[in-house]
């Protein structure tokens, strides 16, 4: 099942691209990466939009969670009122889940296609479709610049590139948070989702940077190219979101102004006044609900100073 639907098609696609692109395996990986990114583009865009939407709704979500922590049914009702569906946030992970088999498949496909051992070449023969003339394609060229594509990069260039491009991609694909706008670290701590997203900006690139020390160079090249495409995609999303906000600002200046002046609040520290405000907001018109933002949290240190 796995071999028939994931691994073998990948192996054959790589071989066909290698054949069409003048027996250049790096070019084959590059075109393959673009194809994979194109295939997953709708899902990626959906995930990004969903992520940005969630980010903006966080203050309301936290306030509702805090207020109705002992009444899940009521909590769900309130979530529905503001248009939040927890299942939708899980669906946002779908592109990542879909990419996992692709990554694992590609990892295996590169190992098998580069045929670094007799057994892997033997395995390849059984996986190649009849219309591909493997005899003519062999041996697969495994040299590119200083790299042996079947081995890790000995000069550390690819691990650094994997880290750098993945970091940039994560940064661009993450919605701009209030922290970035107001420079308040506390606010990041107050919003767990934003905090986690910020942490992932570092965690994922560091992890994959380490992994690239042991990955075959061919796989690291895939990561670098995929990240570069992701950077372009992130840049595009940022611009389109900014344009959207601008349009909204022109249409509803009062609403947008209120939103920009209100910072992200912390549910655990919310006062009863916040709860009252939430009640009022929930009872009010949809416009009023949208304008609702919990009160800014006051730190202990500030309270002591007062």
């Amino acid at each position: 099942m796995w071999d028939t639907f994931i691994l073998n098609p990948m192996i054959n696609a790589l071989l066909m691209l290698y054949d069409f692109l003048g027996n250049n395996f790096v070019l084959a990986i590059a075109v393959f990466t673009i194809l994979i990114r194109l295939l997953t583009l709708p899902l990626n865009l959906r995930q990004q939009r969903s992520s940005m939407k969630m980010q903006e709704m966080q203050p309301q979500i936290q306030a509702i969670q805090k207020k109705y922590k002992d009444n899940p049914q009521k909590m769900q009702e309130e979530f529905q009122k503001i248009g939040y569906n927890p299942a939708e946030s899980l669906a946002g992970c779908l592109p990542l889940l879909i990419q996992m088999p692709i990554l694992i498949g590609l990892y295996r496909a590169i190992i098998i296609v580069l045929g670094s051992t007799p057994q892997s070449l033997f395995e390849l023969t059984a996986r190649v479709y009849d219309y591909i003339n493997l005899t003519d394609l062999l041996p697969i060229s495994n040299k590119f610049l200083w790299l042996n594509l079947a081995q890790p990069d000995p000069l550390f260039v690819l691990p650094v590139l994997v880290f750098g491009t993945m970091f940039l991609q994560q940064k661009l694909m993450t919605p701009a948070t209030k922290k970035q706008e107001s420079k308040g670290k506390k606010q990041q701590d107050d919003n767990p989702m934003a905090g986690m997203t910020q942490s992932m900006q570092w965690t994922m690139p560091i992890m994959f940077g380490f992994f690239s020390l042991q990955f075959q160079a061919g796989l690291s090249i895939y990561f670098v190219l995929s990240n570069i495409i992701g950077i372009g995609q992130g840049y595009y999303m940022r611009r389109s979101m900014a344009q959207l906000k601008e349009e909204q600002a022109t249409k509803k200046p009062a609403v947008i102004k209120a939103e920009s002046e209100t910072a992200v609040a912390s549910p655990p520290q919310q006062s009863k006044q916040d709860d009252a405000a939430l009640d009022a907001a929930m009872k009010g018109t949809p416009e009023e609900r949208k304008q609702y933002q919990p009160r800014k949290r006051t730190s202990k240190r500030k309270r002591r100073r007062r």
Binding site: T117, Q119, F122, T125, A126, P192, L213
Partner: protein
């Protein structure tokens, strides 16, 4: 709920980073699996498979030694050991280069054979080669020839481990080189066969064929035979490299042919066995086994033995050893093994010994005459 989640976030991220660091630092690298490498000195068999090399005494039917004394799970041996006058040469598939190293360290070992305990080290060198040793090394006197997966053939002083010369070819070397009268014959996946002056490494001739060459050349008095992925067995002039004749098969010929009494025997990967005249290439007979074969035929007396594997998608892959008449290719007997036989068997005394890629047996000895099982060996499972 929220208050409990937040303190966990940073430790989890920290742990993830530490785990990925350890993943690299502990050398969890790409696993390169292969079938066992098997050789013999006529008394013992030496099998390189996974983390260790085992020497097994056929007469006493017991393990003599294993190397290294303490196995390293990231270090793997698959190339058949080279044995000559009690000196054993091993090349490995590489181990992690250490903390944060992106490379692998491939080491060559020269060992003194022993009848008990651990073989003594003559020399060990982790700097001579920079990629896997797939091809079995070749010793000629005190000269050692090692082909590597990153396209080099090296001449090394077998007594000291000092490099004498190296020669780069177009792709990996998977077949053991052949030597005859001061000339080294070498095949490569780059589709070429090379003749080099063994003393200096100077190229005498190179002939490019139309398919990759994964196996050793076989040298006759005036011809060099080489099996190719272009579905042909090629016979080249030993002096010039010019092709004299080519015998066709139905599919790739993976491993080296066998030459005996003027006849060349070879098998394609579909299990079609051919016997052709060594001088003219004219076919004498052919026989269908209908089993996948990656090994060389072994000729002993009036019998040619073929070890075969199984389909890759077989649920319980098995192997088979088939005995055919050298005269007409008719089957004498066929015995099954509880694992695929991808390794060319060796002959010791009255037994033909196969190495298995299986967790049920590592070695099985079949009687040359009847095919009955004489003994088998599976290292103790830890």
């Amino acid at each position: 709920m929220y208050a409990a989640k937040r303190p966990l976030r940073r430790p989890v991220i920290f742990l993830l980073i530490i785990a990925s660091y350890l993943f690299v630092a502990c050398g969890v690298q790409t696993a390169n699996t292969n079938w066992p490498g098997l050789s013999t000195d006529g008394e013992k068999v030496y099998v390189a498979y996974g983390p260790e090399v085992v020497a097994y005494d056929v007469e006493s039917q017991s393990k003599t030694w294993s190397f290294p004394a303490e196995t390293n799970p990231t270090l793997q041996f698959f190339a058949a050991p080279s044995v000559q006058d009690g000196r054993i040469i091993l090349g490995d598939f590489g181990a992690s280069g250490g903390m944060l190293s992106p490379g692998v360290v491939v080491t060559l070992y020269a060992l003194n054979d022993t009848d008990q305990g651990v073989p003594g080290s003559i020399w060990t060198n982790g700097e001579l080669v920079s990629d896997r040793v797939v091809a079995p090394p070749l010793q000629v006197g005190d000269q050692l020839f090692v082909g590597t997966a990153n396209n080099f053939i090296m001449s090394i002083d077998a007594t000291t481990g000092a490099k004498q010369w190296e020669f780069e070819v177009g792709h990996s070397i998977w077949g053991q080189p052949a030597y005859k009268e001061g000339v080294l014959y070498l095949s490569s996946l780059d589709k070429s066969i090379y003749a080099l002056e063994a003393e200096t490494g100077q190229e005498l001739w190179q002939t490019e064929l139309s398919g990759a060459l994964a196996s050793s050349p076989v040298v006759n008095t005036d011809l060099v035979y080489v099996a190719s992925f272009d579905n042909q067995l090629h016979a080249l002039d030993i002096q010039t490299g010019q092709e004299k004749w080519a015998a066709s098969a139905q599919d790739w010929i993976w491993d080296a042919p066998a030459f005996a009494d003027g006849v060349v025997y070879f098998v394609d990967i579909q299990g079609n066995v051919y016997a052709v005249d060594g001088a003219s290439g004219d076919q004498i007979w052919s026989q269908q086994l209908n089993l996948p074969v990656q090994t060389s035929p072994v000729v002993v007396g009036e019998t040619v033995y073929i070890a075969s594997g199984d389909d890759l998608d077989a649920e319980n892959p098995q192997g088979a050893l088939t005995a055919l008449n050298v005269a007409d290719g008719k089957q004498q007997w066929q015995k099954t093994a509880p694992g695929p036989l991808f390794t060319t068997p060796v002959v010791v005394g009255d037994s033909i010994i196969v190495a298995l890629q299986s967790d049920q047996d590592l070695l099985i000895a079949f009687d040359l005459e009847t095919g009955g099982q004489n003994w088998d060996y599976l290292p103790p499972q830890e």
